[in-house]
Amino acid sequence: MDFTLSNEQRAWQMTARKFAEEEIRPISLARDAIADARETFDWDIIKKGSKLGLRTLAVPKQWGGHGTDFVTQALVMSELARADSAISKTFSQCWKWSHLIAATCTDEQKRRFLTPFLEDDTFLLGKGITEPGAGSDNRLPPDDPKAGLKLRAERNGDEWILNGEKCFIANGSVGKLFFIDARTDPHVPLRQGTIMFLVPRDTPGFRIGKVFNKSGWRFYQNAEMIFENARVPHANVVGPVNGSDLKTTQAGDRTGGDLFGDLELAANALGVCDDACGMSIALARTQQQGGRLLFDQQLVQLKLNRMYCLTEALRSYVMRIAWEHDHKVSSANAGLCMNFSTDVIQEVTEINLELHAGAGVLDAWADKLVRDAMIWSHLAGDTVQRMKPTRRLAREMP
C-alpha cells in the first residue's frame, strides 16, 4: 500500500488550500449570514476559482479539461470544504455533471456543450431529478408507475415538449445547462419510461422559480424549475430514448456520474471535519478555564480524541474510495462511505460547537458548521440512502 501523493495531486491540493484560505474563508461567514437565499451567491469567487481550474477540473484532457483523477478531486473538494462546504459543493457539482457528459453524451453533444462550458468562467452545471412529490422514490424506485418523478416529455417532430416542475435543484438559479429527467410514459414504472435531456438555461418555456431558503449550505443555490411547454430538441436526448437510469446502469464508466456523488459528499464532509478539529484543538490549547488550559481536562481530551478518530477514519475511507474509482473498482463502498460521512460530520461539528459553547465562546463559525452538516441528513444519510448500498452489497455477494 502506498499512500503518497503524486506531484500533480499535491500541486492541486496546494492550489485548493491556498485558494480556500485566501479567498473562500474570508467571505464564507458573511455569505452565510445573508438572509435572502437568492443573494448568498457570489460570482466573484466562482470566477476566481474557475480561472484556477476548479470548475473544469474533472473534464477529460481529450476534451480540453484538466482530466484530474478521483484522488485529486477528493483532495480538492475537502480542501475547499475546509473553508466553506457550500462553495466547495458549487464547484464539485460541475465536476459531477462533467463526468456524466463524458460518460454518456455523444461526441456531437460533447462538442456542443463542453466547449462553452470550458470557455465561460460563469458556466455552471446542474441536474434536475427531485420533484415536489418524488424524492426518495427516484432513489429507490418501487415498481408502481404512479411513483417517482412526473415531469412529462412528449415527442413533437424533432422536439420534445416538457411540462411539470422540479424542486431543490442544485445550481438551479445560477446554472447554464441542466440534465433533466422526464417521463415519456406515465403508465410504466420509472425505470422504463424515462429520458434524460440536456436543457440549456435559455430553453423557451423553461424558467426558474423560487430559491429554497436552507438553514445550512446557504451559499449553495437550490431552486425550483418550471417547465411550461418547454421545447427541447431531440438532439439533446442523452442516451437511448427510455433508456432511463442511465447514470447508474448503462453509463459505461460506472464510477462517473453515479458514484462520484457519493465520494463527493464524503470528501466534502472530510474538509468540514478537518476545519472543526482544527478549531477545537486551537481552542483547547489557548482557552483558559479555572486558571488552566482547557486542554488539561480529561473530558476535553476525550472529546478531541473522538473528533480526530472519526475524522481520520473518514479520511482513510474517502481516499480509499477515490483510489478505487481511479482503478475502476466499483463496489457498495462509495455509498457506505457517504452514509458514514453523515454520522461523522454531524458528530464532529456538534462536539466542536459543544466545546466552544462550554468554554463560553459564542462562535458563529462553529454554529455554521453544525447547520452545514445538517444537510447530510437528507442527502447522504437518510434511510433510503443507507438502504441503497446495503442492497447493492447483498446483490453483489457471491
Binding site: A33, T130, G216, L294, G358, L362, S377, H378
Partner: protein, 410 residues
C-alpha cells in the same frame, strides 16, 4: 404515595393553554415569512394575550394575587407554550418564576408592598434576572473534585453611596432584557459574597441591548444590560448584604426550563407524525416503512422518557419531604434531567426533521426552527459537561457550599 395522576386543575390549565397555543401562538409563530426572516421579533400581541390569561403570574402565590402553580404545573404550562413558541414560554416562565421567588420568598414585606401592586396592575410588567457576565468563568471543569472555589465573584459591583448603592457592570444572556420593567441584579459588594439588587427599568444608568441572532444563546428576547453609575435606594437591596440565596432559588426552577425543550421536541414530533401519515413514498405512507416507523418510535421514546425525568424532578422540588421519607432517591434529579433531556430532545428534533427529507432543513418550514431551537437549549446555561461533573461530585458525596446543582434533598 406514588401517583402519576394530574389534578383536575392541572388538566384544565393544560387544556386551556393548549387551545390558546393552537389558536393564537402557532398561526403567528409559524408563518413562513416570519420563519424566513433573519430575526423573529417577539410576538408581543400574543404575549399580552397570554398575560391576560394570568400566565404572567402563574407561579405567584394566590395570596399575592397569582395562580399559585407549583413546579410540576409550571412544567405542564411551559411545555404547552413552548410547543407554540419557546420565546413566549421563556419570557413568561422567567417572569412567573421571578415573581414567585421575589414576592413570595425573598422580599421584605415593605418591598412587597411597594413593588407588588405595580406588577399586578400592569399586564406588560415583566421581570428579568441579570446574573451572567461576559468572561465570568463559573464552570466546574478544572475544579472537579478539588477543594477550590468555582464560583468567582461577580465583576458587577454595588458600592455604598450615602443611603443607597451605585451599581456598575455588564450583564449578558439576560432573558427579557429588552422590555422587563424590574431587574434583579446579582452584584458583589465590599462585604464579599453575592448581593441582589432590585432595579426598576427606568433607573438612570441602566441600558438594555437585545442580542443579535448570531450570538443568542437563550430563548426569550435575550440581551445585555449595562449598569453605569446606576443609583438605587438602600431599600432595594434584596436579602441581607452578601447573603443572596437567589442562585439556589433559581436552581430549583430548572425543571420548568427543561419543559420548554420538551415543548419544542413535542412540536417536532407532532409535525413529523402528521407528515409521515400523509407523505407517500415507495407506494405507502412513510410511517408504514420500518425505517421511518422506528425513527418516530425513537422520537416518542425520547420525549416520553425526558418528560418522566423532568416531571419527577419538578415533583421532587414541590415535595422535598419525599426525600426525607425515602420515596425519592438521594440524587440531583434536576441535573440528571437536564443532561438527559437536553440531549434526548435535540436528537429527537433531528430525527423528526429527517422524516421531512429536504423540507427538514428549509427555513420557511417549522422543522429547521425546531432543530435550531433545541440546539439553543442544548447550549444554554451551564454546559452539560459541567452538569455531568456536578452529578459525579454529588453521587460521590463531594459537597460544595456554593454548588448550584444541589442534591434535591438539600
Amino acid at each position: 404515595m406514588y401517583n402519576l395522576r394530574l389534578t383536575p386543575e392541572q388538566l384544565e390549565i393544560r387544556d386551556t393553554v393548549r387551545e390558546f397555543v393552537a389558536r393564537k401562538i402557532k398561526p403567528a409563530a409559524l408563518r413562513p415569512e416570519r420563519l424566513e426572516a433573519a430575526e423573529q421579533p417577539l410576538l408581543v400581541d400574543v404575549l399580552d394575550e397570554a398575560s391576560q390569561l394570568g400566565l404572567r403570574a402563574l407561579a405567584l402565590s394566590e395570596v399575592a394575587g397569582g395562580a399559585g402553580a407549583d413546579s410540576l404545573t409550571s412544567c405542564i404550562v411551559s411545555e404547552e407554550l413552548a410547543a407554540g413558541d419557546p420565546a413566549i414560554a421563556a419570557v413568561l416562565g422567567e417572569t412567573w418564576t421571578l415573581a414567585h421567588i421575589l414576592f413570595d420568598r425573598l422580599m421584605t414585606p415593605g418591598q412587597r408592598e411597594r413593588l407588588l401592586p405595580p406588577f399586578l396592575a400592569d399586564e406588560r410588567c415583566h421581570i428579568a434576572l441579570a446574573r451572567e457576565e461576559p468572561g465570568r468563568d463559573g464552570s466546574l471543569g478544572s475544579h472537579y473534585h478539588q477543594p477550590g472555589h468555582n464560583d468567582p465573584a461577580f465583576t458587577t459591583m454595588a458600592i455604598r453611596a450615602g443611603e443607597g448603592w451605585i451599581i456598575n457592570g455588564l450583564k449578558h444572556e439576560v432573558v427579557n432584557a429588552s422590555f422587563a420593567q424590574l431587574f434583579v441584579v446579582a452584584a458583589a459588594t465590599a462585604a464579599g459574597g453575592t448581593s441582589a439588587m432590585l432595579v426598576p427599568r427606568d433607573t438612570p444608568g441602566l441600558t438594555a441591548n437585545e442580542s443579535g441572532p448570531a450570538t443568542r444563546r437563550r430563548h426569550g428576547a435575550c440581551g445585555q444590560i449595562l449598569f453605569k453609575d446606576c443609583h438605587v435606594p438602600a431599600e432595594n437591596l434584596l436579602e441581607p448584604e452578601g447573603q443572596s440565596k437567589l442562585g439556589r432559588e433559581i436552581a430549583r426552577q430548572i425543571p420548568q426550563q427543561l419543559a420548554i425543550q420538551l415543548g419544542i421536541g413535542r412540536a417536532a414530533y407532532e409535525a413529523a407524525l402528521d407528515y409521515s401519515q400523509i407523505r407517500v413514498q415507495g407506494g405507502r405512507p412513510i410511517i408504514e416503512h420500518q425505517a421511518i416507523g422506528a425513527k418516530l418510535a425513537d422520537v416518542a421514546t425520547r420525549l416520553a422518557t425526558a418528560r418522566s425525568i423532568i416531571w419527577q424532578a419538578a415533583w421532587a422540588s414541590d415535595h422535598p419531604e419525599a426525600f426525607a421519607d425515602r420515596s425519592l432517591p438521594d440524587l440531583p434529579l434536576a441535573s440528571i434531567a437536564k443532561v438527559f433531556a437536553s440531549e434526548a430532545i435535540y436528537h429527537a428534533t433531528k430525527d423528526a426533521a429527517e422524516c421531512f427529507g429536504a423540507m427538514g432543513v428549509m427555513r420557511d418550514m417549522p422543522l429547521a426552527k425546531y432543530v435550531h431551537d433545541a440546539l439553543i437549549c442544548l447550549h444554554s446555561g451551564e454546559a452539560n459537561t459541567d452538569t455531568r461533573l456536578r452529578i459525579a461530585e454529588a453521587i460521590a458525596g463531594h459537597r460544595r457550599a456554593d454548588a448550584c446543582a444541589v442534591l434535591a434533598a438539600e
